[in-house]
Symmetry: C2
Subunit: 274 residues, 2 copies
Amino acid sequence: MTASPTASHAFDRAIALTAAGTNLFKGEVDDSFQNMVGPFGGVTAATLLNGALQHPERIGEPVSLTVNFAGPVQLGAFDLEAVPLRTNRSTQHWLLLQKQDGEVVTSATAFFATRRETWSEQQHEMPAAPAADSLPQLVRSERNWFRNYDFRYVSGLFDPSRSDSTEDADSETLLWTRDNPARPLDFASLTALGDVFAPRIFHRRQRFTPAGTVSLTHYFHADTEQLARAGDRHVLGHARATRMHNNYSDQVAHLWSDDGQLLLTTTQVAYFKE
Amino acid sequence: MTASPTASHAFDRAIALTAAGTNLFKGEVDDSFQNMVGPFGGVTAATLLNGALQHPERIGEPVSLTVNFAGPVQLGAFDLEAVPLRTNRSTQHWLLLQKQDGEVVTSATAFFATRRETWSEQQHEMPAAPAADSLPQLVRSERNWFRNYDFRYVSGLFDPSRSDSTEDADSETLLWTRDNPARPLDFASLTALGDVFAPRIFHRRQRFTPAGTVSLTHYFHADTEQLARAGDRHVLGHARATRMHNNYSDQVAHLWSDDGQLLLTTTQVAYFKE
């Protein structure tokens, strides 16, 4: 096998899989994307999607992906079962199970399809925002995974260290983001970028609390050609919550390429304490 | 077993399951909720959720559910495998597979949890709408499943038979709905109600086209107590699309009880032709 142009990128190393039998891959979690407990969920989601992307029976491109974070992912080896549950003429449904020591730590389902050109329309316009290059890059290193992303906040920064730290009136964030160092966008990296928003409860209350995503769903509007057009430039992300109630909060978010095309609609439900 | 007060309701008959072994149920699809191809997807989703709800090892209440419509559900018998993938102290992750003739027709994952009282806040207010009782009930019988729901449209009706049928400027619908005849709201019926919106592409273009949901995700904000408070009254639903592109459209929707509490955030991706 020849090395891909991005093979030396931390992201590609983190999601790498080795074929290990029928519907089975093996991988390794290192600490390069470490978050509070286990790796950044976006990289875990991208790793599971990669099980379908790398599978020899795969047809089409990702249209939807749901990832359930069932238990803490430990540093070290994992198995990834990637099972094509049903293959139709131009669509395919996947079950993906990440296991450590025989126990499920992450589960996912994915839907792939071969798309044809149809009548198309984008209903949700990109919010107005200053250009990414005109904004300062946030430098933060409390967690390993922050180093692998370039964040440029337009509004809604969660920063418990700021001197005027008070609750924010809403739960919204608008930011430009991309891999750091820059890396051409693809389905795996877009999957991870869809999970870069801090839990809405942190932002809303401007303080930490034990919290974490339990389930995440991506709808990919972009196809390979649109991802190629987005290149390695920043994407604009907007996230908000609609309700926080008794330990669980949702999040509804969208990511656009810098020319205003909606690439991803993503939702998640996150646990929070107290 | 004693009959539940709602056992004679068409909805309860449609989602009924019989235990058939470890992690296995059996059920039967009749034509009472028939849609264009197979039964109304909301009832299929509720049937899969019911596999976890009825399982003897289930803990807690539904927090999230993703259902993937892998192939046409035929009239007649099905098997439902309901597997608790991982059980933690107060949370539980499920895999649910509906099979006919040994083939997966629907797959799902669900996350259940025992909730505790926490700081809570609703960010997304209920849209203004006239009371359900002040609006006419839509009477339509082209599909069997329509008869089992009471629809009262505030705006955004898809009606290809109307004389001024033209494209609509947006993809939004606002409507009151409940079971018909009325039935106290629970997790299963809320699951089905979350899927009552016509495909956004029908509404946007005001014409039929081959179309159907391929994946649906629900986040349940309501707990049992809030569902009980909602009683058998109408819930208000709002749905919109954010992008339609090359065969696939998303939908982002919310359902509120009539006192303004957000019960459900729900998203889906639907196939459409041309």
